[in-house]
């Protein structure tokens, strides 16, 4: 299948470029004086957070269109984006506390940003669990679409929680109305990382979409028996 091959190639290239991000961030990007080496977690944590949020927005948009058009491709795409978003949310929620411990002195704080980010992850998990719990494809797609739209509505609250509430989490230093407060060298590394995470998202979603498509085709031909593929 051409789509699957394309997804594998994009992922392979993105993983190679990710190695480049590691080298650039760890070797060629200066150490921040106040936070020390722990600040370099920024180049992983923030791109992962951006794509954890963006993936859910994409799930929501695809879900809205699905409810109107009933096109199974939109449901497949939303499912793929949700699974990949879950992976980025895991990355966000693991690198965040590892960064927080040396800087804040604690792994976790139940402040608005961290709690809402955890809630976003739980919504992703709920979305995937819902999909695996409903057998009828039409009902599954409809229920999942409603949850996906709820997830999309949550994203602005996650992102703007640092402005709405007093939180331990810092405000954005790049994605803000004024100019980025990051030196050029650090900004270049961060932009490179965001570009690689974007490519990873595209590669992962393409493969996950192809997996759903192949599974549906095989289930249709063998009448729901063993398709020769693993479970979702």
């Amino acid at each position: 299948m051409r789509l699957l091959r394309a997804g594998r190639w994009i992922t392979a290239i993105a993983l190679l470029l990710l190695a480049g991000v590691y080298v650039r961030a760890l070797v060629y990007t200066p150490v921040e004086r106040l936070q020390g080496l722990a600040q370099k977690i920024y180049y992983l944590h923030v791109p992962a957070a951006i794509w954890a949020e963006t993936a859910m927005i994409i799930v929501g948009i695809a879900s809205i269109f699905y409810l109107f058009l009933k096109d199974p491709r939109l449901d497949r795409f939303a499912h793929a984006s949700a699974e990949v978003g879950t992976v980025f949310a895991v990355l966000m929620l693991t690198t965040g506390p590892i960064w927080g411990k040396p800087i804040w002195g604690t792994w976790w704080s139940w402040d608005a940003r961290l709690t809402l980010a955890l809630f976003l992850f739980l919504l992703y998990v709920g979305y995937l669990l819902l999909r695996s719990a409903v057998a009828d494809p039409a009902s599954r797609a409809r229920f999942a679409a409603v949850l996906g739209i709820c997830g999309m509505v949550l994203v602005p609250f996650v992102h703007f929680s640092v402005y709405m509430f007093r939180t331990l989490h810092p405000m954005p230093i790049v994605l803000k109305p004024s100019a980025p407060s990051l030196p050029g060298n650090m900004l270049a590394t961060w932009l490179f990382s965001v570009a690689v995470f974007t490519l990873l998202y595209v590669g992962f979603v393409t493969q996950r979409y192809a997996l759903s498509y192949l599974r549906e085709q095989l289930e249709a031909t063998v009448g729901g028996g063993d398709s020769g593929m693993g479970h979702a």
């Binding site: 594998r8 590892i98 020769g228 593929m229």
Partner: protein
């Protein structure tokens, strides 16, 4: 302003290892799930 840069490189290494493990594991899981099983 501290005189010396904080020594917390271990946290950075941990985060980058976690990042690599999560992303490579998911890439591998996609590869294995999309690879059809060979007939016995």
């Amino acid at each position: 302003m501290p005189d010396t840069v904080p020594q917390n490189g271990g946290y950075m290494v941990a985060a980058y290892v976690v990042g690599a493990v999560v992303l490579i594991s998911y890439a591998l899981s996609l590869y294995l799930r999309t690879r059809p099983r060979l007939p016995a």
